[in-house]
């Protein structure tokens, strides 16, 4: 059993941002989450990863209820996310940034070196594959917006996560790099990682995802394979208006 939301509700004041949404990420899949602006996609991510408390409903992962856990506890279980607006650590070097992600917080782990277990080597390999290896000793603040996006993505690959939630990984990234990121996601998926991706770029979503969930006004509008979603009248209406 993988990540599952059961009738999750979130209110902001009088606005119901997420309205009784139930969904399940199919095992081994790349699942897309689409919907017009303000439809509750990022809020749903925040709920799934413990950044916001849910008001009603339940969230389950591998037969365990995980709503109410703190963000780091969710990561310890193997679920990691990226942010829509990149949040790297500007004054630390690119390599130091890469050494931060972790699934352990035990005392013996805390007093160990962040450089053991070949982590720097893994970090540099990842940086090489996104073309940032040359910047490894530069402060992350010196990266451009697109490069920061890439670093943000690479950070989520530094832990042996089971599910990766990506919030608009392709915004602000040029098409050739985009192709490389897609390739990267596909490869990681073949090796067993599941992905849940918020994306506005329909080419990316349709090309990458096996399964798509559509949100509209906080409610789940539709769910299914890309080809089915593309034909769905309700979805087209939500996106294009009447």
């Amino acid at each position: 059993m993988t990540l599952e939301a059961r009738k999750v509700v979130k209110d902001f004041g009088g606005i119901r941002a997420v309205d009784s949404v139930s969904l399940q990420i199919p095992a081994g899949s790349i699942t897309g989450l689409i919907g017009p602006n303000g439809s509750g996609k990022t809020t749903l991510f925040n709920l799934l990863t413990g950044f916001l408390p849910i008001d009603e409903g339940e969230i389950w992962y591998k037969g365990r209820r995980i709503d109410g856990l703190k963000p780091y506890q969710v990561v310890e279980l193997g679920i990691i996310r990226t942010f829509q607006i990149t949040r790297i650590f500007p004054k630390l070097t690119v390599l130091e940034n890469m050494l931060i992600p972790t699934r352990e917080n035990g005392l013996s782990h805390l007093v160990s070196s962040p450089r053991k277990d070949g982590r720097p080597k893994k970090a540099i390999q990842l940086l090489e594959s996104i073309g940032l290896a040359a910047y490894r000793d530069e402060p992350a603040a010196s990266l451009s917006y697109g490069q920061s996006k890439l670093l943000e993505l690479a950070l989520s690959f530094m832990v042996e996560a089971e599910i990766v939630l990506l919030d608009e990984p392709s915004s602000g990234i040029n098409p050739s790099l985009q192709a490389r990121i897609n390739q990267w996601i596909t490869e990681e998926n073949r090796q067993g990682k599941e992905f849940f991706i918020i994306e506005h770029n329909m080419d990316v979503i349709m090309g990458l995802c096996h399964h798509i969930v559509v949100l509209h006004h906080g409610q789940k509008l539709a769910e299914g394979e890309p080809s089915v979603i593309q034909q769905n009248d309700q979805v087209l209406e939500a996106y294009l208006g009447e």
């Binding site: 950044f51 805390l110 000793d137 402060p139």
Partner: protein, 331 residues
């Protein structure tokens, strides 16, 4: 601080050991009681600032009340020496442990506060601490407590405290340095840079902060104990004066926040400058000078004295030197 490969490590260790040997030999050549006293005060402040720097400089949790742990250490040693007659050196350990326990309880409650709110909480705690010691008879009230007289002959009485303070300061520096090289250290820096993101990458931020806070209280407790037995008295003013907290902040900022060598430089410069300025322009005017230095530093050298090589760039950025301003890339 940036880690740039481990090849820099060896000369660095040499750089640390040479001054240490010089300091060990120092009392053999200098017997002047005043000079030794100033050295002890420097060691005390190095311990305080280095400890403060772990949550303050590395994790960005600025404490305005760090004097509390110094004071708790002082009173712990005083009480233990007076009432239980435990060997002096053992009381220092207890002093550290008591301070650490207070830090554990206070840290667990208050470290969920951020930025200025945390700073105010620490200020409040230090004030509360001071009033507790001021108003309970068992602590001697405003007059404080007198400790047993030092058994050392007057001409040597500073020597054991000199080595004691040097030892504690050295231990503090090396342990804090060690911590900054662990996952805990890099986690603290991540918290400073972006706490929410750090938590999103799996860092148990509360645990990191509380551990850092416990360490940052332990060493001031130990050195507070030593300083109390050195002065042979404790009272609420000698132990809880807000001037200590202010000095810690000044030294940390002057030396360079979030660095291991910064506190050493900051403490040494400020203590020596304090003494020199007290002789020349007077004790009170000196504070005005320090205020001026702090404001100037904040503008021109936000990285402290350690970043002095970058002063040209900062001056340019602030528009004090004519020239091309560095373009800030638009996102």
């Amino acid at each position: 601080m940036m880690i740039k490969g481990d090849d820099l490590l060896k000369p660095r260790i040499l750089l640390a050991i040479l001054p240490l040997v010089a300091l060990l030999l120092f009392p053999l050549f200098v017997r002047d009681r005043y000079v030794l006293h100033v050295m002890i005060v420097i060691f005390v402040y190095i311990t305080l600032v280095e400890s403060w720097n772990l949550p303050g400089g590395y994790a960005g949790y600025i404490s305005f009340g760090h004097v509390l742990f110094f004071g708790i250490g002082g009173y712990s040693t005083a009480m233990l020496l007076i009432f239980w007659k435990i060997p002096t050196i053992v009381t220092y350990l207890f002093a550290g442990v008591f301070s650490a326990l207070v830090a554990l309880v206070f840290g667990y409650i208050s470290l969920r506060l951020k930025g200025p709110y945390f700073a105010i909480a620490t200020l409040a705690l230090a004030t509360i601490g001071r009033y507790i010691f001021l108003n309970f008879d068992v602590f001697g009230g405003a007059e404080g407590l007198l400790l047993p007289i030092s058994p050392w002959p007057p001409e040597f009485e500073k020597i054991p405290y000199y080595y004691g303070a040097l030892g504690i300061a050295t231990l503090t520096v090396f342990i804090i340095y060690g911590i900054t090289k662990t996952r805990l250290g890099i986690g603290l820096m991540a918290i400073r840079e972006n706490e929410e993101k750090a938590e999103g990458l799996g860092i148990n931020t509360t645990k990191h902060k509380v551990i850092a806070f416990i360490f940052s209280a332990f060493f001031p407790g130990v050195i507070g104990g030593l300083f109390a037995s050195y002065l042979e008295y404790v009272n609420p003013d000698s132990c809880f004066s807000i001037l200590y907290s202010a000095n810690i902040l000044l030294m940390a900022i002057l030396g360079g926040l979030g660095t291991v060598t910064g506190p050493i430089i900051g403490a040494s410069v400020i203590v020596v400058a304090s003494e020199v300025l007290s002789f020349t322009i007077g004790h009170q005017v000196r504070l005005v000078v320090f205020g001026f230095i702090l404001v100037t530093l904040a503008i021109f050298l936000p990285g402290g004295l350690l970043s002095i090589r970058e002063i040209g760039r900062t001056m340019k950025e602030r528009g004090f030197v004519l020239g091309e301003r560095e373009e800030i890339a638009a996102p």
